[in-house]
Symmetry: C3
Subunit: 343 residues, 3 copies
């Protein structure tokens, strides 16, 4: 895809300084721009780069004043940062625009497919699945029996969705992610006999899940990710977990069975939360925290394994680093005290 | 799938109270039942819900005595909990019943396929693979050259099995899991040259592996998961590891090369075990443990990183939480002692 | 594949003692060899096994002197260990040799494919992708729009590569791995609006990535793995990360956004590194380390969470294990001091 400066200026409602016919096919950072790319200047810290960049077009604020000659074509707009973000979004939308049903895909006769849907090569849509409008199903995706997918949702290549799961509108699921695999439940008193996993996974609207995540179906009922929940890559969500609206879990999080995580939580990478806990709204967990007790008070910050108040953890950890000298001091005290007593 | 109360009562050998023609298509918890679902009441704690539930059918113990009117149709059985479990299992068996070879699948001519096998769309069965009876191979699965799969084993959508691996009977492998990828071995003294990984992965009978796991092939010989081993999601098992019968590893476990894990072990989530260790039978590891030494004594419990005796770890961790006050006390002791000495 | 002793002796430039027509189809360890396999003896510790092994052929050093009768056919070579390694490599090359384009694959008309390329069943090569010579693309792989893949690179079954990514020569990517999924970036001040991820992933030459890894595309620019970088399984590399030449990251590593890792680093399993850090060349990280600050000095070893100098961590951890007795000692000191003062 190529765009001319005049096409871009029109979209951004900007004015051109330089060659209005110059073409760009990609975006770049101003400090590393190459010919054929478009960049932007908003932060004054980066101003020196505008005189050296090879980017063909640079978006600048309308009040930008050059103090040296500039090679690039400029597009002046009200707010260069916002304009660039707008451009990126449009670029992505154009790039990811896809529709049509590939001949080499399999859609069961009993499935229903909405309008303007993309189904890529070797994708499978099983019996009674219901696909909304404008949904994009990339190649090699598997949509199991009775699955429901809301409008505008995107499943990237190779996503696997087991039967009966329900996805809301405007969701994005990245490659390799599995929704609805069985919960890890076995009757230990009965020789490890498998406990049937009859439930499903339900995603709200505007949920994004990174690549290679595993979200298990509920034993009974639903494993639930609320509206606006975002998961990074390689996250494990066990059976019957509920994550409420707009909580963010970073890469390699592990949430064990039946735990309920409140709204607007932020968990850093490699966090683990054991089963059957309740985590209050707005909880923040530092990387590698291991939560073993419910967190009842909203808005607190935790760290460590087992996790505790983060500032207390940091204090204790400073002492941990210096334990050697603390032990020396206790040795010294014992020696001194022994001397005192023997006097 | 829909079933009437009379169909279910017949299967469970129970007696009906209410509408024998009412139909259900799903199961529910009694506290949240909806019309069209069947639930059960066993624990007296939940008795109040039987008067408010909207479940169309509730299975109850034969000696249950109602104290208020009940909307739902009741099915009385000897043991309501067992009957419900039996029902779930039957439901799952019916739901997961599949057979037939999809036209849009690829089976090499040299492969052999048993009776009553299911092969889904876009699955690949490569040269000389041997598939037992009643095996279910979901869509987009890859079965490499010379792979052997025992009777009744299920491979869910997108499982990938490299050449030469051997799977026992009655195994279940969930979506995204990879068996037989190369072990992580490079000749560091030789510029990082790859060491060929010639071995395979061997699973016993009745092994279940969750979604998105990675089980590496052995360098020589076999990486082995014994009968009845169960892995949760996103577990990494390195080359030449052996996990013996009926051990359970929860999500995000990492077992490094050539380590041998005994029977009936239970590892919580995010546990790591380094290479070339031996872990005794019945070992229990707390979440996020990092095991750096062999565990020789069977039946012990470990925690921490590096892992140590769990009760000792918990004691030390209590002191860690209070290190700030311990340091204060040592400060105070030094001050007091200095005063004493200066007297 | 079967080979006779005389075929193998010719390749290895060795001399045969025994049956030159005996055939082998697999390799084995000398302590567990079965008929039809070939093994080797180099370490004198294993000499006793040569008199009991059932391996059909054993490669030995040319100066080996038997003290008892041996059943196996021997092949005498200069260096038995090297000869065996050479054999394994040849075996693997023969076993993994594949070429030809499967009829049941999809290659976009605008894609270009080099010479002697293998494309397996149900693989997809999207518009404008460029595939080098001798590339192997296993079944069910997805190669997105504009992706470039260098000569001799191997993508095992089910690898997914998003649009615009660039792979060097001689790379190996294992099953389930995803290159180019979106970075985990949302505008929190703007209701969690997704920040478009416009960049790509760039791999140098001779990179190997294990199974089920997730390498996110850059927001702008590239996420980069340098020449000779090796990742184990289930590794997460976030947007805009750069890992320089010949660094090794073991299973379940997590590297957060925009962090730069130097050359020749070695990270053990389950290591986490937070965002925007710089890690110096030759850094070694112990298993489960959590790095929260840049490491500026090359060649240092770190451990713990948050990570600190490894030898210091080990010292502190010894004291941590004994905190209970340290607290007892402080209790005792306080008691003794109180007694002294009251005298």
């Amino acid at each position: 895809m190529k765009f001319t400066a005049s096409q871009i200026a029109e979209v951004l409602n900007g004015t051109i300084e330089g060659n209005e016919n110059v073409e760009v096919h990609n975006v770049s950072r101003i400090e590393g721009g190459e010919p054929g790319t478009i960049s932007f200047l908003a932060n004054p810290k980066y101003t020196p780069f505008i005189y050296t960049t090879n980017a063909s077009i640079v978006i600048v604020n309308e009040d930008f004043e050059a103090t040296e000659p500039i090679q690039s074509t400029l597009i002046r707009v009200k707010n260069a940062e916002n304009a660039f973000a707008q451009l990126l979004e449009m670029y992505n939308q154009i790039k990811l625009a896809k529709s049509g049903i590939a001949e080499q895909s399999f859609i069961a006769k009993s499935a229903s497919v909405g309008e303007n849907v993309y189904v890529g090569e070797y994708a499978v849509i099983a019996d009674n699945a219901k696909i909304g409008n404008n949904v994009k199903i990339y190649p090699q995706v598997y949509v199991g029996e009775n699955v429901t997918i809301g409008d505008n949702t995107v499943l990237f290549a190779g996503v696997k969705i087991y039967s009966d799961c329900v996805l809301g509108k405007d969701c994005i699921i990245h490659s390799g992610t599995v929704l609805g695999s069985d919960g890890f439940r076995f009757a230990l008193h009965d020789g490890g006999k498998k406990i049937p996993q009859i439930g499903n996974v339900v995603l709200g609207d505007n949920v994004e899940i990174g690549s290679n995540c595993s979200i298990d179906r509920a034993t009974l009922g639903s494993t639930i990710l609320g509206d606006g929940v975002k998961l990074d890559n390689l996250v494990h969500i066990a059976h019957n977990v509920e994550i409420q609206e707009k909580s963010y879990l970073a890469a390699h999080n592990v949430v064990a069975g039946s735990t309920v995580i409140g709204k607007n939580c932020m968990f850093s990478g490699q966090v683990g939360v054991i089963d059957h806990l309740k985590i209050a709204d707005n909880t923040i967990l530092a990387a590698q925290s291991g939560v073993s007790k419910s967190i009842r008070k909203p808005g607190t910050v935790h760290m460590g394994s087992p996790a505790m108040d983060a500032s207390k953890y940091r204090k204790s950890f400073v002492h941990f680093r210096n334990l050697d000298s603390l032990v020396d001091r206790v040795n010294q005290l014992e020696k001194m005290l022994a001397e005192l007593k023997s006097q």
